[in-house]
């Protein structure tokens, strides 16, 4: 599971960096307590990241009716790690 969660995190980071590059956004250092809205990406960018991660990881942790929304980068990764378990 440890190996898997490392992979999930690195995939999330890779997709965020890819989208930031495509959208010409300057990305803040991705620390766990970074607020997503301070990351340099807007909600359209995160929407694209979620679509790409659904393709690469096969999960969308925000799609259920009782889903909550992540506030920090750490929350965001955590949603994927939990869903991948």
């Amino acid at each position: 599971m440890n190996v898997k969660s490392v992979n999930v995190k690195s995939e999330v980071v890779a997709q965020i960096q890819q989208v930031a590059q495509e959208q010409n956004k300057t990305l803040a250092p991705l620390t766990d307590d970074l607020a997503l809205l301070d990351s340099g990406l807007d909600s359209l960018c995160f929407a694209i990241v979620v679509v790409r991660l659904e393709t690469s990881l096969g999960i969308d942790p925000f799609s259920s009716d009782d889903a909550r929304f992540p506030v920090t980068f750490g929350d965001f990764v955590g949603f994927y790690e939990n869903a991948a378990k």
Binding site: E22, Q23, A35, L36, L37, D42, S43, L44, F46, A47, I48, V50, V51, R52, T55, D60, F62, S63, S64, D65, D66, A67, R68, F69, P70, V71
Partner: protein, 449 residues
């Protein structure tokens, strides 16, 4: 004319400005020489919402026509909008806006608390022209008046403080602007560059009681840690489909507030509000309001009321109302268990965070790429922003290019789209497919959801 409200109620747009409604109406928006606005068609292309609000207060009843050019619309359409609306003048606060035609004067516009007072003795019924995006990328000009725009506005408590994420140059924001200006209540508007955290903090410090936005605005707010900065009594979502997840989230975030979602469009006006906290709308909404007739025969929602727009402007403009006065919203609905749900647009229009995307416009760009044979652009549901644009693309050569080339060609097509299209219209993903389904009519078969 828009009557000025009570003396203590005001418009606050943060750094852009703050003034009471009375001050706004009494100030001046024209800062150069003699400009006669009476009976003119005036295109308003200002960046500042504060200035736009002041100009609207002053122009209604005086100008023949006010054209509201949204700040996020490409300036490439300015000349088309001005010509179609037979504009005599362009009012702008943007030095980069120049006269688009030798016959159309460009006048600088900023609000000043005192200045030349316009002669408002004779009042005429001004046409208010709102712009929406059209199939080919060229905007449609939708004709309203103050009466149609304010048709859904009921008198409310003057102690209310309204706030919205919407821009007042679009229908949703216009509703809130008129509600506050006509009702004499304070209104807090977000300026385009302002972070959501700052906006919510400002709205909270001004005591906001009623706040409105699209589900995507609210998802963005939930992703900030600033939702606790406001304690509203009333929260409304509209402009996109409100799914159960976002409604549940809003209830959980503001347990004391009335959380409602509403259905409205620039053409059809305000149609209904849903108060039971569930997605879609109950069957008995149809026929419940004698002022708004709803017809769902044929699968799309059609509306007849005094709130609908009159027509589109322009020589080859499409028909806005049927002969019996109904406006077809184009929103397909499906009845199940006594409740209607929205299942997409009949014409395939995609709603990305409250902004319309016409698949044909995106397909036309993709199809210009030399390696593309044909493409189909469709909506992909998204939990963050409601819906996103994705494209299925058939290539001219080898139906499935070798794996190593796939991602570079996908990137190349996306790059091409970014150069030609607004950010929300660029596909989030490109899928290469061997072929696309074609109907007997010879047209691509479009999914309706």
């Amino acid at each position: 004319m828009i009557a000025a409200g009570g003396s203590s109620s005001r418009l606050n747009v943060g750094a852009e400005g703050d003034a009471s409604w009375g001050q706004l109406a009494a100030g001046s928006v024209i800062n150069e020489g003699h400009v006669d606005l009476r009976g003119r068609s005036v295109l308003l292309a200002v960046v500042s919402q504060f200035t736009a609000a002041a100009a609207l207060m002053q122009l209604d009843g005086l100008a023949r026509r006010i054209v509201l050019f949204p700040p996020d619309m490409s300036r490439d359409h300015l000349a088309y909008a001005a010509a179609t609306a037979e504009a005599d003048l362009i009012l702008t606060d943007d030095p980069t806006v120049e006269a688009v035609d030798a016959n159309i004067r460009c006048v600088r516009c900023t609000w000043q608390p005192a200045g030349r007072v316009l002669d408002r003795q004779t009042q005429i019924e001004t046409e208010w022209i709102l712009l929406t995006s059209g199939t080919t990328g060229v905007p449609k000009l939708v004709v309203h008046t103050l009466a149609t725009l304010s048709g859904a506005i009921q008198p409310g408590a003057s102690s209310a403080v309204w706030a919205t994420f919407y821009d007042i140059r679009r229908y949703g924001g216009m509703q809130i602007f008129l509600r506050a200006a006509l009702g004499g209540t304070t209104l807090v508007l977000k300026n385009a560059k302002e972070p959501v955290t700052d906006f919510l903090a400002r709205a909270g410090s001004l005591g906001v009681t009623h706040i409105l936005g699209t589900p995507s605005h609210w998802r963005g707010a939930l992703m900030s840690n600033a939702t606790g900065r406001i304690a509203p009594q009333y929260v409304r979502l509209s402009g996109e489909i409100s799914d159960q997840a976002i409604l549940n989230q809003m209830h959980a975030t503001y347990p004391e507030a009335k959380v409602v979602h509403a259905f409205a469009s620039t053409e059809a006006g305000v149609v209904f509000e849903v108060k039971d906290g569930l997605t879609g709308f109950p069957q008995d909404v149809v026929g419940s309001n004698p002022q708004v007739e709803i017809d769902i025969e044929g699968g799309t929602l059609k509306v007849r009321s005094a709130r609908t727009a009159f027509r589109y402007l322009g020589a080859n403009a499409p028909v806005l109302k049927s002969a019996d006065g109904f406006v077809d919203t184009g929103d397909a609905v499906d009845l199940r268990g006594g409740r209607y749900s929205f299942v997409g647009r009949q014409d395939g229009t995609i709603n990305v965070g409250g902004m319309k995307v016409h698949p044909e416009e995106v397909e036309a760009v993709i199809n210009r790429h030399p390696e593309v044979s044909v493409s189909l652009v469709r909506m992909k549901k998204n939990s963050i922003i409601g819906g996103l644009v994705v494209a299925d693309v058939v290539l001219k050569k080898s139906p499935q290019p070798a794996d190593s080339n796939v991602s570079s060609l996908q990137r190349e097509i996306l790059q091409f789209c970014r150069g030609e299209l607004a950010q929300h219209k660029v596909p989030a993903a490109i899928n290469f497919v061997p072929n696309l389904a074609v109907a007997e009519s010879g047209k691509l078969i479009r999914p309706h959801a």
